[in-house]
């Protein structure tokens, strides 16, 4: 009908700068710190950064899956800790000496926890952030039960317990490899499969999805389970890195992880959560943390800088995208 009235708009330089701002910030900060402290650019330090980014990044990617469908999981930190605690408990009492079986059991339990999250958040219809907050309280209790309220550590744990977090393949930490593998797998799921299309579409316009016959509830349900599983795995990584299980293992990085997911929503596809963005944002946080420590500045500075970057980033999204982020929509 008629003549073509829609012309393909070339993306402007300004658009590209905002799209790739996080990546540019990563590079600029690396250069900045390397000028301040020449040792910063050493391979071992860069690998350290990647290891630090791995924990926040994996937990953040887990959180971002459920945020994509427009929901929230505030219990993901407790779920990470619980997974590690279960693993520690089954390994420690010597019932299951094989590490892999321990991991499977821990993930199975946390997968069920995701099912419970989804049952309340999706089927019963409690606002998800309230439901997950309440469930996380129960999980806190179980964590204390399993750890006895102390840092859990056992000399008899198989060496494999520390492989993920401490071993290296040549100069590359296994933790960084795990980070990249999980990121690649989730990127594939989100960007290349039908399921990924649906979780993003539901966060954008659930009514539209219902109308074309997409089972919105089922997709949301699965998203909650994936989030719990990925979050749980982040807990296993974190405990492996320290070699023990601390009660604050998950809750300590949960806020950073959620911030990474939100910050990531400014990357590549502004206004939409994406795995690539979460990865780049987690790396940014790690660079700042590492750089500040490396240059000998006090710790609180990193919190201030991270906070400023986050509030500017989400402020930018709120100003430029009238629909706002899924999961944190206003009124």
């Amino acid at each position: 009908m008629g003549n073509k009235t829609i012309t393909k708009k070339k993306s402007t330089v300004g658009e590209n700068i905002t799209k790739y701002f996080l990546l540019i910030a990563d590079i600029v900060l690396i250069l900045f710190f390397s000028i301040l402290a020449p040792g910063f650019l050493q391979v071992t330090n860069l690998m350290d950064i990647l290891s630090t980014a791995a924990l926040v990044g994996v937990l953040g990617m887990g959180a971002s899956i459920v945020m994509m469908v427009g929901e929230m999981n505030f219990g993901i930190g407790a779920e990470a800790t619980l997974t590690a605690a279960i693993l520690g408990a089954v390994l420690g009492e010597g019932r299951v000496s094989v590490y892999f079986i321990g991991v499977l059991i821990a993930l199975l339990v946390i997968g069920l926890m995701g099912v419970i999250d989804a049952t309340f958040g999706v089927i019963i219809g409690v606002p998800a952030f309230i439901a997950t907050l309440a469930i996380s309280k129960i999980n806190d209790g179980f964590i204390n039960l399993l750890t006895g309220g102390k840092t859990l550590f056992n000399m008899e744990w198989p060496a494999a317990f520390r492989t993920l977090g401490q071993a290296r393949l040549g100069p590359v930490p296994v933790l960084a490899v795990a980070f990249i593998v999980i990121a690649a797998a989730l990127w594939f799921l989100v960007d290349k499969t039908k399921f990924g299309t649906y979780i993003q579409a539901i966060g954008n316009n659930a009514a539209c999805c219902r109308q074309v016959g997409i089972n919105v509830r089922r997709i949301k349900f699965i998203a909650f389970v994936i989030t719990a599983l990925v979050g749980g795995f982040a807990g296993i990584l974190a405990s492996s890195k320290t070699g023990n299980i601390q009660a604050t293992l998950g809750s300590g990085i949960m806020m950073d992880a959620m911030a990474a997911a939100m910050l990531g929503a400014t990357f590549l596809r502004p206004g939409r959560y994406n795995i690539q963005g979460t990865v780049v944002a987690a790396v940014l946080t790690a660079i700042i943390t590492n750089g500040i420590t490396f240059c000998g500045y006090p710790d609180y500075i990193k919190d201030i800088i991270n906070g400023i970057i986050l509030i500017i980033a989400v402020g930018y999204i709120a100003m430029t995208r009238k629909e706002g982020l899924p999961s944190v929509k206003m009124g």
């Binding site: 009908m1 393909k8 499969t193 579409a201 316009n205 999805c209 939409r272």
Partner: protein
């Protein structure tokens, strides 16, 4: 033309009825839709058009009667069943995923996959074949959020067409289109029936569109079918007559107005307002002790105008005279202080659903019941709330019950009742106050409005989509079309045919 072996019509609607609590939205309606036919469905707001369509698409269950598709009785348990039977609908509001391109939106829910990987090429191919079939040239590879309203609509029609429907329902498809887009769109709809042989139910308010493309028209009024006819056999006037309800307007005690005298006591005087990026010609005034009706189609600007006056809607530029004072700015709080108050169109925006009756009445008067240090005087507010409720004849069990447990009519009585308690109230705007109420509750609202004007000397702006009630209650009426006031009528001049013509843009557009 496709040869049709089956002589039965494509769709036969047989005596279908839908009731909602207290209201019969569709009352034993029957009509047929033939093959390759554009069947227009018209009627005032609330006449039952959408309810019929929602029964056709399986969104609503049918209370009585049934639907036949090509002579076969069908029962739809949900939209999926209806789609399977060959019925698909494009809603008035857009249902698209903004960042996906047209091809991805067309294939949404039915994506092609190679293994587990999305097959973008296959989807593009499928979308292209639909596009070719419909003979449009909407680009398929850019995000739909970057497209205009017309192109977005075509994407939705392509999505509906990709399910190969026999009947396509279009709900006010031209409402979101610009002037230049409408004519090609109408040609396109016509081509749907001639080229790919699907029938169309075309819901619209615009009579000229119907006469341009429809084969048949069914007119609804008050939940009943008042006419089905071939377009060739009827005139626009006959359509308008059929849209007007049959029951005659009863005489209500509206005292005669001495307009000359009333003009001396003008309360509100408005010429133009600029909001939503457009300047609206809203030349109207309200006198003291007068009920003024605002009539027009949904979206004609009635609510927006009064929201602008009441300080609720942000204005780029406003200037009007109220009670002898020139007003150019002020939010809703400031306006209430001046004596302008509006009760909103959606009843749910006028109540606090999880608060009780006392709280719902007294939130407007917190200041009055606060002690010097800001403590709320419980007893006094209770007494006051009880007074308001009794004065307005509200039915309730206890003052502590939640307002959301009351009926719509009682809620409305509370909303209006507390508004008129505002000290120095001068102008009350009631926006669709009777929507969804039964006849008894409606008449009580009418009496309340008249009482305000006649006995208390207040002024009322009465916004409604029901012409009948405006004619019953108002002293004067303004008709809105496309954001502007197009006509002022005094009570003596009320004539529903004239009013409808103006409201449908028939006169204003120079016809």
């Amino acid at each position: 033309m496709r040869t049709v072996s089956n002589t039965a019509p494509l769709i036969s609607i047989k005596e279908i009825t839908k009731r909602f609590t207290g209201v019969t939205a569709v009352d034993h309606v029957s009509f047929d839709i033939g093959h390759n036919e554009i069947h227009a469905l018209i009627g005032e707001n609330g006449a039952g058009k959408s309810t019929i369509c929602k029964m056709l698409t399986g969104v609503y269950a049918i209370d009585e009667g049934y639907i036949e598709v090509e002579g076969k009785k069908e029962e739809f348990k949900g939209p999926a069943d209806s789609m399977k039977a060959g019925i698909n609908m494009v809603y008035q509001e857009r249902n698209l995923i903004g960042y996906l391109n047209a091809a991805q939106n067309i294939c949404l829910g039915t994506e092609n996959c190679k293994g587990i990987v999305l097959d973008q090429k296959a989807m593009m191919k499928r979308a292209e074949s639909v596009r070719r079939k419909l003979g449009v040239d909407t680009p398929l590879d850019i995000p739909v959020e970057k497209m205009g309203a017309g192109a977005q609509q075509l994407v939705e029609i392509m999505r509906a067409a990709s399910t190969e429907p026999k009947l396509l329902i279009l709900d006010e498809p031209t409402a979101s289109l610009g002037e230049g887009e409408i004519e090609p769109f109408l040609k396109f709809v016509k081509k749907l029936t001639t080229d790919i042989h699907i029938s169309v139910i075309y819901i619209t308010h615009k009579l000229e569109e119907i006469f341009a493309i429809a084969d048949k028209v069914t007119v609804m009024a008050d939940g009943k079918r008042t006419m089905t006819a071939n377009i060739a056999d009827i005139t626009q006037d006959e359509c308008i007559k059929a849209m007007i309800r049959s029951d005659k307007i009863k005489a209500v005690t509206v005292p005669d107005m001495n307009y000359e005298k009333a003009e001396e006591s003008r309360l509100l005087d408005v010429h133009e307002l600029t909001f939503d990026g457009k300047t609206h010609q809203v030349e109207f005034h309200v006198n003291r002790g007068e009920v003024v009706g605002f009539y027009g189609l949904v979206g004609a600007g009635r609510t927006e105008t009064m929201e602008a006056i009441s300080g609720i809607r942000r204005c780029d530029k406003k200037e009007f005279t109220f009670d002898g004072e020139k007003i150019t700015k002020g939010d809703s709080f400031a306006m209430i202080q001046k004596g302008i108050i509006l009760t909103p169109e959606l009843r749910k925006n006028g109540i606090f659903p999880s608060l009780n009756l006392v709280e719902n009445v007294c939130t407007l008067f917190v200041k009055r019941f606060a002690s010097r240090i800001g403590m709320l005087k419980k007893k006094e507010s209770y007494k006051f709330a009880k007074q308001v409720l009794e004065k307005n004849g509200t039915k309730f069990n206890s003052m502590g019950q939640l307002i959301s447990h009351l009926s719509g009519g009682n809620m409305q009585k509370i909303i209006i009742g507390r508004s008129i308690e505002v000290e120095n109230l001068k102008l009350l705007t009631v926006d669709e106050p009777t929507a969804g109420l039964d006849l008894g509750a409606k008449s009580e609202i009418y009496l309340k409005i008249r009482n305000l004007a006649d006995n208390l000397g207040k002024s009322v702006v009465f916004i409604s989509s029901e012409l009948e009630e405006l004619m019953k209650v108002c002293n004067r009426m303004y008709i809105f079309y496309d954001g502007n006031v197009v006509k002022e009528l005094k009570r003596e001049e009320f004539d529903n045919q004239v009013i409808l013509e103006y409201a449908l843009g028939g006169v204003g557009s120079g016809k």
